[in-house]
């Protein structure tokens, strides 16, 4: 949509495997919880650092499907955040398919 319209795009993704699978002009990948592509609220330094990494790739990339995995580590407890990013109630989608999801063998 946008690249064909003459606009250069840069994606910040938490799911680089999907970007690789389906194709993307350029992307930086962060290992941050969902809903937090630029980090924590009020953390100006963290937000700006990710943005500057994204802008660097935007400027340097020369062809499509350039995906750079960034080194930023999530600064808070990971076990806690595996729950904390999730909605308080399951989404309608997950609620609908919960039996199917629960039937998956671990």
């Amino acid at each position: 949509m946008f690249e064909e319209g003459g606009i250069s795009t840069i994606l910040v993704t938490m799911m680089p495997s999907w970007a690789e699978k389906y194709g993307v002009p350029r992307a930086v990948a962060v290992e941050f919880p969902f809903g937090h592509p630029l980090g924590l609220p009020g953390s100006l330094h963290m937000q700006t650092a990710v943005i500057k990494d994204a802008l660097k790739l935007l400027e340097e990339s020369t062809g499509p499907n350039t995906i750079v995995h960034l080194e930023h580590a999530w600064p808070e407890d990971e076990t806690e955040w595996r729950r904390k990013w999730q909605p308080e109630a399951a989404s309608p989608l997950i609620a609908k398919y919960l039996d199917q999801i629960r039937a998956i063998k671990t």
């Binding site: 949509m1 946008f2 690249e3 064909e4 319209g5 003459g6 606009i7 250069s8 795009t9 840069i10 994606l11 910040v12 938490m14 799911m15 680089p16 495997s17 699978k21 389906y22 194709g23 002009p25 990948a29 962060v30 290992e31 919880p33 969902f34 809903g35 937090h36 592509p37 630029l38 924590l40 609220p41 009020g42 100006l44 937000q47 700006t48 943005i51 500057k52 802008l55 935007l58 400027e59 020369t62 499907n65 995995h69 955040w81 595996r82 904390k84 990013w85 999730q86 909605p87 308080e88 989404s91 309608p92 989608l93 609620a95 609908k96 398919y97 199917q100 999801i101 998956i104 671990t106």
Partner: protein
Amino acid sequence: MVVDSYKWLPYRLSAWMQMEWQAPGEPATTPFTPLAKPLNSTRFALLTTGGLYLKGQQQPFDVEREAREPDWGDPSYRVIPKETMLGEIEVAHTHYNPADAVEDLNILLPIHRFTELEKAGEIGSLAPSAYSVMGYQGHPVPDYTQWQERYGPEILEQMKAEGVEALLLTPA
């Protein structure tokens, strides 16, 4: 490091997503427009899929219909002016906890960070309008018809009218 796309997901949920979720067809080639100018003379816009809207001024994304039809997602968009302040944003999105985005929209739509970068001379400018959509577009195959035929072209037209040359995309 290699970013683990499934790090934050429960095991069964990530397995289910990888089994059941589908793309709406893969493009033959990925489009690519090189950045035409240095960053410090490029005009930017921002777009997030986080479901942000202006509290009390805009309609929320239609999560009530999504509750009735879990395989459907609202395809519309909201324009968020770059002058928007903290506290003026609300979120309608059923697939993540929006508390942090409501507290600081910059984690998804960094209008204040880009305004700072503009003042510092690191980018050319931030366009007046930023954009918010609600990323979930249906299951198992997302329906991008409305996006491709109506909303996407409308957003592109507004960006072109505002002289936008580059776009930061931030999914939730």
